[in-house]
Amino acid sequence: MIRKYPAPHIRKEMNISLIYPHVLIALLPCAAAAVYYYGIRALMFLFVGMTAYVLFDYLFSQYVRREKYVWDASGLVSGAILALILPPTVPLLYLLIGVFFASVVIKQCFGGLGSNLFNPAIAARAFLSIAFPSIDAAYTEPIVSRWSVTSLLYGPIDTVSSATPWISQKEHVFELLSGRYPGAIGTTCAAAIIIGGIYLVRHGILRVEAPLSYLLVLSLGYWFGRGTQATVFGMFYWIFTGGILFAAVYAMGDYSTTPTTKYGRLIFGAGAAIMTLLIRDFGNPSYAVGFAVLAMNITVPILDLYIRPRIYSMPSWFSGRKKADVKILGKGGEQ
């Protein structure tokens, strides 16, 4: 009746089956903003993205890797993130290709849940940008033809070129906050992302080191880079557009692709910020955030290997890798 179990006998309440639903809930404000601005199309993106992701996951895991698939919400989260970072006129086929890439190639082929090297949604977005470059110019004005049924299949018709410059003026602070400008469907509403981020922090799911260091280094880079032309509003505009906030909360807060230690995450955030700065200023700005995150994802194994906490009674950080002599620290006299 009572079997023998090893210690410990209680567990933290927040476990995997709860974490991902919380992340889904945190994504709800962004999804609400997306549906509010882009109507049926956004709904379709979300629905297709989430179900296709889980489906591909399940099929591959069950029939190719021959592992019993555990039904959890992580697939829904990744699918939703991928759907939310796409522009609204992306054809459905591209979305499906992206989901396939994210789920099968990036996640399952690398080992399934928790073993992926790259963030699946971000990697799939980068893949779509490279394979179908036309999608980067496919932004439309929000709240136009939201509810027309044709937008279900064909997407809104009148497109504008990429991010509009008019929003960089100071009077448009409300548009900036509420996301009423052309961009990817889920990443424009800064307030929604911030709400989601606060929710995650409050529940202990989002570790703040990576996002905070990311945003901080970005702000510093903006101030130093622009010099005399830097303004407070300009900084907010720079940070709130381009998907930086979204990446800060959902890409820097992803468990499997960020370092496991606190200092590792700080370095991760700073490195991603530096890469974003460089790509934005000297390269193609629409690639900046995605590729910066991917670049830092590659470095995570090294960061995990060398940045580790100090072992009790061992002198230095890296002593985990060396055999160190036993010494006493501080006062207490010599042995």
Partner: protein, 447 residues
């Protein structure tokens, strides 16, 4: 007052604050339990087991010695109830060790041993007398360590220790036996601590408490203020700690106070001159000093994640089944754990006796979550107080890479269970790592 802590480990916000939502046991009077029979093992401390000196059929009374020490690091064992010895048998303890045990049938007469009588002036005893009392009191480290108190005092004396720490931290969840003692019987604790201090010849006596036990802190403060004038040459004070999980662990206690980290071979007395005793130990010693009653019963907390908490004064050797007969709804719990929920041992055989080192019995009803694959979240790394990487060690154990494990310094693991607690994937990190660490230790010592 400044709060001390070490840097890592689990925090109450991780869900360890079990007092919320359920009223902490506020009872003033300790419930006394009278078992029908007890089985007193001989091996209740570190060192060598005691040797039984009674035979089947002998009549014993409370406080009568039934097992004598067999070496310097050994503690005598006394009868905790009066009655007849029905058997001397071999039992298996929860940690797997087999040893001899004396089974006594209670005659419900509560006959005390003749030696057990109130002393007239306990304060005037000299350190040497106190030491002798300690030697025959059978007192071991009652916080779970089980090191014979007399041997510890001797070690402290030799090392020239100057501070005695009374460990009232009780950082394991659900357990409140020490807390109860400190709240209701603060005098006993303090006097016992002072007496132990005399044995060890220390000048400073410092009581350690967690910051969330505000009532107890107040009670101790009051009691300390009363006792301080009587001992002007000693420095008696209170130290408050942040509520961290393995804070009660002695090495981490030293680290929090002195910022010094001890490894396996060192002990606190020699390195920093501090000797640590548990609250129950001090109270038990004062019983011996005051009434000459050796270690025969102790306060045990019975609680769990769905059970109301209660502290019971239990004679040593009471079987768990008898104790739990009184708990309603016990049948639905999945595990019965001797000790705390995080570091205790789940028992299969309910006839396990309560030892001197048993702090409580925890009834767990919640099932562990489903085991999934590691998601590299790093929660275990944040939780581990000694700084190893549990997820990495687990992976290395999985692929049986023992050399790498040596490099990972897996032997520093203190088996606190914090990593398994924090793991969202429900992996059995602590068990595997402890086992591997034992294997490594054996390998290293050449066995």
């Amino acid at each position: 007052m400044k709060k001390l802590s070490f840097k890592k480990g689990l925090l109450p916000i991780d869900g360890l604050d079990f007092s919320k939502g359920r009223a902490l046991s506020q009872e003033r009077v300790l419930e006394q339990f009278t078992p029908k029979e007890v089985v007193i093992p001989m091996y209740q401390s570190i060192g060598t087991p005691a040797a039984p000196i009674v035979h089947t059929g002998s009549l014993v009374s409370i406080g009568q010695m039934i097992g004598k020490p067999t070496s310097l690091i050994s503690a005598p064992v006394h009868a905790s109830i009066s009655g007849t010895v029905t058997a001397i048998e071999t039992i298996r303890l929860p940690n797997g060790i087999k040893c001899a045990a004396v089974r006594i049938q209670n005659d419900l007469k509560r006959r005390m041993d003749d030696a057990v009588q109130k002393r007239s002036s306990p304060e005037n005893l000299s350190p040497k007398d106190l030491y002798r009392l300690l030697l025959f009191s059978g007192i071991v480290g009652m916080g779970g360590e089980g090191y014979p108190a007399a041997a510890k005092c001797l070690r402290a004396q030799k090392a020239g220790a100057d501070t005695l720490y009374v460990n009232g931290l009780q950082s394991e969840p659900y357990l409140t036996c020490d807390i109860h003692l400190m709240r209701e019987h603060a005098d006993r604790v303090i006097q016992g601590a002072i007496a132990l201090g005399s044995v060890c010849r220390v000048q400073k006596i410092i009581f350690c408490l967690q910051d969330k036990w505000t009532q107890e802190i107040a009670a101790m403060q009051g009691a300390l203020d009363r006792f301080r004038p009587a001992y002007p040459d000693r420095e008696i004070s209170l130290l408050v700690f942040k509520a961290h999980f393995p804070q009660g662990y002695d090495k981490l206690l030293i680290k929090a106070i002195y910022q010094i980290e001890l490894n396996q071979q060192q002990n606190p007395e020699e390195t920093v001159g501090a000797v640590i005793f548990n609250v129950s130990t001090c109270a038990a010693f004062w019983e011996k000093v005051e009434k000459n009653l050796p270690c025969t019963s102790r306060v045990v907390t019975i609680s769990g994640d769905k059970t109301a908490q209660r502290n019971v004064l239990v004679p040593i050797g009471t079987s768990v089944s008898e104790l739990l007969d009184r708990i309603p709804g016990m049948g639905t719990c999945r595990r019965i754990v001797i000790g705390g929920a995080l570091m205790g041992v789940a028992i299969t055989n309910l006839n396990t006796p309560i030892l001197k080192t048993t702090q409580g019995i925890t009834l767990i009803r919640q099932d562990n979550p489903q085991k999934m694959s590691c998601i590299h979240c790093g929660a275990c790394v944040e939780a581990c107080p000694v700084g190893i990487l549990p997820y990495l060690c687990e992976r290395l154990i999985e692929i049986s890479d023992t050399d790498a494990l040596l490099h990972e310094n897996i032997e520093t693991c203190i088996s606190c269970g914090a990593c398994s607690y924090a793991c969202p994937a429900g992996m059995e990190l602590s068990t595997h790592i402890s086992r591997a660490s034992h294997k490594n230790r054996e390998k290293r010592s050449g066995l």
